[in-house]
């Protein structure tokens, strides 16, 4: 998804209805406007401080510089990391297989070529919206309750929503491809499946590869997050050290995680550049063959690797069919609405979730451009901002939430801070990528005319990036809505908190109703964010 920004930046400038007099914020201002949320936030925060914990936060920050180097601890951290990496890899690989198959099954062009009509694609698409709308944490906790703690739970929890997400992207990519080659092959008499594979396979590959790389990063983040909720691996270690206030040990884990995350990001970035941007040297046909061979080797190596990892972790799909939870679930009696459902404070729950989402989204979208602007031309400040993004990105939001609880009272604002900061790290990296893609000349011209470095950045670089960035922000808001369950453990944050509560008290009917409410809300949010995105990208 990272490359989206650069592609769309080029096409964002379109004609505009002339003669509009209504004051309308221009592009660079639009980018900064979400940051206005900081004003009410700075008024609210002092009221939320509960007075204690300052000393603890100080100790936490100091511990960053003196992480524990105890070999015993490092050993257990590394084995936890191996488990997390293994879960991420397996969940990711499974989701790719699922996603590509389901994606093909929900692409209109495929059905139209095979059957002559496209309605089955729409049906599959709509069905897939449900697994997509439920966050992997929710899948994980549900499965945990049903089949007990097994390594396979985390893998499946990642694979289900990720598979549905990949399917959507694959279907969109397939339907967006140029169809002339397919039609040419068909009119030449090749059978439909062969024509599909030949005409659509190769052009699908670059977009698919780029997105798969991005999903692997997401899978690592998700596997860590699932660990925080007790599904094993590094996340579990992190939560235990945090809860016992062993900050130096916590930081050992965080630095290890940061190193792995940055390594993975740069590795994927290098592969993306190597495989997907061959245009500069594409004159030699040998280049293409080499790339193709490399890709095949990597894909072939993935299969035995996955099997080995599955064996080492003891992942066994048969485990999903047994467990006492399943029987308890079957014997739980009628699931359908009882009086307990009506007693839930629905307006407050939904209102809490929505305000949490909006607040977190505004923070996530507004912070990165403001931070870059404040950093100005100073290299050190910019490096610091980037480091803060990297940390925020890899840091599971519930951990931030727990940390914030040391200072702040539980509630929507605390949860939104945790979620917003995490997503700001993701959007910040994207903004950085988008900015490095071009626009230096205009910034230079303004600086040469005497504008300060910050104003030159605001006027020179932000206009071109504004719309694609905000469009991605709209997509991110949708993700944040889904993720809001993750910070439910902070308490009093709407649906998420209630859901975790119902889950731990085995109130299946409540749980089902809450999940359905989440699904409905997420689908609505998806629709709204899609519309906002289309509007942002089409008009200027």
């Amino acid at each position: 998804m990272g490359r989206y920004l650069s592609v769309q930046a080029a096409t964002s400038a379109g004609p505009q209805a002339a003669g509009r007099r209504r004051p309308r914020p221009a592009a660079p201002l639009l980018v900064l406007m979400p940051a206005l949320v900081l004003l009410p936030l700075s008024l609210l925060l002092p009221g939320l401080l509960h007075g204690g914990g300052l000393e603890l936060i100080g100790r936490f920050l100091l511990a960053a510089l003196t992480p524990s180097l105890d070999p015993l601890l490092l050993g257990s951290l590394l084995s936890g990391l191996a488990v997390t990496l293994g879960m991420a890899l397996l969940g990711w690989a499974t989701s790719l297989v699922l996603g590509v198959l389901l994606g093909v099954a929900s692409a209109r062009v495929v059905w139209r070529t095979l059957l002559g009509q496209a309605w089955p694609a729409g049906l599959v698409r709509r069905l897939l919206a449900v697994p997509r709308a439920i966050h992997e944490l929710l899948w994980g906790l549900l499965l945990l309750q049903l089949v007990g703690l097994q390594p396979v739970v985390a893998v499946v929890a990642i694979a289900i929503p990720f598979g549905a997400l990949v399917a959507r992207v694959v279907a969109d990519l397939l339907d967006g491809l140029d169809r002339s080659r397919l039609e040419a092959l068909q009119s030449a008499g090749s059978p439909a499946p062969a024509a599909l594979l030949t005409a659509l396979g190769p052009p699908l590959l670059p977009g698919l590869l780029s997105y798969c790389g991005y999903r692997l990063e997401c899978a690592l983040r998700s596997a860590t997050l699932l660990g925080v909720f007790g599904l094993g691996g590094l996340g579990t270690e992190l939560r235990l050290t945090l809860q016992s206030l062993e900050f130096r040990e916590l930081w050992s884990g965080l630095w290890v995680l940061l190193a792995v995350m940055l390594l993975l990001e740069s590795l994927l970035g290098a592969l993306r550049r190597r495989w997907l941007m061959p245009r500069r040297l594409s004159l030699s046909a040998g280049g293409v063959g080499r790339r193709g061979r490399e890709m095949v080797i990597v894909v072939l190596a993935l299969l035995p690797l996955c099997l080995l990892v599955a064996r080492a972790l003891g992942v066994d799909p048969r485990g999903l069919l047994q467990g006492q939870g399943l029987q308890a679930f079957a014997g739980a009696g009628p699931l359908w609405p009882g009086p307990a459902l009506l007693s839930l404070p629905w307006p407050a729950l939904i209102g809490g979730t929505l305000s949490l989402t909006l607040l977190a989204a505004a923070l996530a979208v507004g912070l990165p451009p403001l931070q870059l602007l404040l950093a100005g031309r100073s290299r050190a400040a910019r490096a610091l901002v980037r480091l803060s993004w990297a940390l925020a990105r890899l840091w599971p939001p519930p951990l931030t939430a727990l940390l914030l609880l040391l200072l702040l009272q539980p509630g929507v604002v605390t949860a939104a801070l945790a979620l917003g900061l995490h997503n700001a790290g993701i959007l910040g990296r994207l903004l950085d990528e988008g900015l490095s893609d071009g626009g230096a000349e205009r910034q230079q011209a303004l600086a040469c005319a005497g504008a300060g470095p910050r104003l030159a950045l605001l006027y020179g670089r932000y206009p071109a990036i504004a719309r694609p960035y905000l469009a991605y922000g709209a997509y991110r808001a949708d993700v944040i809505l889904r993720e809001s369950v993750v910070v439910g453990l902070v308490g009093a944050t709407g649906l998420g908190s209630q859901l975790l509560e119902s889950l731990s008290s085995f109130a299946w009917d409540q749980l089902l109703a809450l999940v359905l409410a989440y699904v409905a809300l997420t689908l609505l949010g998806e629709e709204l964010s899609d519309r906002a995105r289309r509007r942002l990208l089409s008009s200027s």
């Binding site: 964002s12 400038a13 003669g19 509009r20 660079p28 011209a445 005319a449 504008a451 200027s540």
Partner: protein, 282 residues
């Protein structure tokens, strides 16, 4: 005592890969002088202009703006740079913003943050912007249009209008006439020459020696060195022809319109080009 030159370079050297891009260039431009910088491609014209507007610090030698060396303090240096306006070959307008916002971007050096932000929300300084648009023969109804909706000729003029809003003492222009059709080029040149008159000065780099009418001085740059620095009038005689021949020695003279023109009459060539391209112009 005469006023200090608007721009002065003393023995300016800029190192490049292998050969220096500028090798010991010295020149001074006083108020009211309109100077053409002539030379084949790769002579170092763009480098010289980049040194002149402060983008490129010279490896050695000295640079003076209105008699003062570039200030150490960033703030003071920005004030100096605000007095030098550059017309870039690619214009570097901000496509996504309106014409009015683009024109006001010329004031960013003196505006503080509040006005800079307000400019992105409300139409500011409409009168001043209308005035500069009129000076470049454009009307005020363009103000609220985004730059992306303008024609090529309109963009050129808006870029010059932004320059005027900046209020510079010295105008620099890097090959502004390249890639323009002859009629447009001639009109743009007239505009720049008019705006470069006293008390301002103009330094304009050119590929073509056929457009020198109206300049006061001509500098010939070749391989990073100044070959000549002559009054424009003296280049029209036979001595001038020899100087030009030396400047363009070894260049393909009849390659295209960008090079030294082979034909005798530029005016007739321009006239035929105009009739061949009725859509040209603003």
């Amino acid at each position: 005592m005469a006023a200090a030159a608007l721009l002065e370079l003393q023995e300016v050297q800029v190192e490049g890969r292998g050969a220096p891009r500028l090798a010991g260039v010295s020149l001074a431009i006083a108020a009211g002088e309109r100077v053409a910088l002539l030379g084949p491609s790769g002579a170092g014209k763009s480098t010289l202009l980049a040194v002149a507007n402060g983008l490129l610090p010279p490896s050695s030698g000295a640079l003076y703006w209105q008699g003062a060396a570039p200030a150490r303090s960033r703030r003071a240096r920005r004030r100096q740079q605000a007095r030098i306006g550059t017309l870039w070959q690619d214009l570097r307008l901000i496509e996504e913003l309106s014409v009015q916002q683009n024109l006001n971007a010329g004031r960013l050096a003196v505006w503080g943050w509040p006005r800079a932000l307000l400019n992105l929300l409300l139409p500011l300084d409409t009168e001043a912007n209308t005035a500069v648009l009129q000076r470049v023969d454009l009307t005020a109804d363009l103000l609220c249009q985004p730059v992306s909706a303008l024609s090529g000729g309109q963009r050129q003029r808006v870029a010059i209008a932004r320059l005027l809003r900046q209020g510079p003492a010295l105008l620099l222009a890097d090959e502004p006439l390249a890639s323009l059709d002859p009629r447009l080029a001639a009109a743009l040149l007239q505009l720049l020459l008019a705006e470069g008159a006293a008390p301002r000065a103009l330094l304009l780099s050119l590929h073509r020696p056929d457009l020198l009418a109206g300049f006061d001085r001509v500098l010939g740059l070749r391989a990073g060195r100044l070959l000549f620095d002559l009054p424009a009038a003296s280049l029209s005689g036979p001595a001038g022809a020899a100087e030009l021949a030396a400047l363009y020695r070894g260049e393909q003279l009849d390659q295209d319109g960008d090079s030294l023109p082979a034909g005798p009459s530029v005016a007739s060539a321009a006239a035929s080009a105009v009739s061949a391209t009725p859509w040209a112009g603003t």
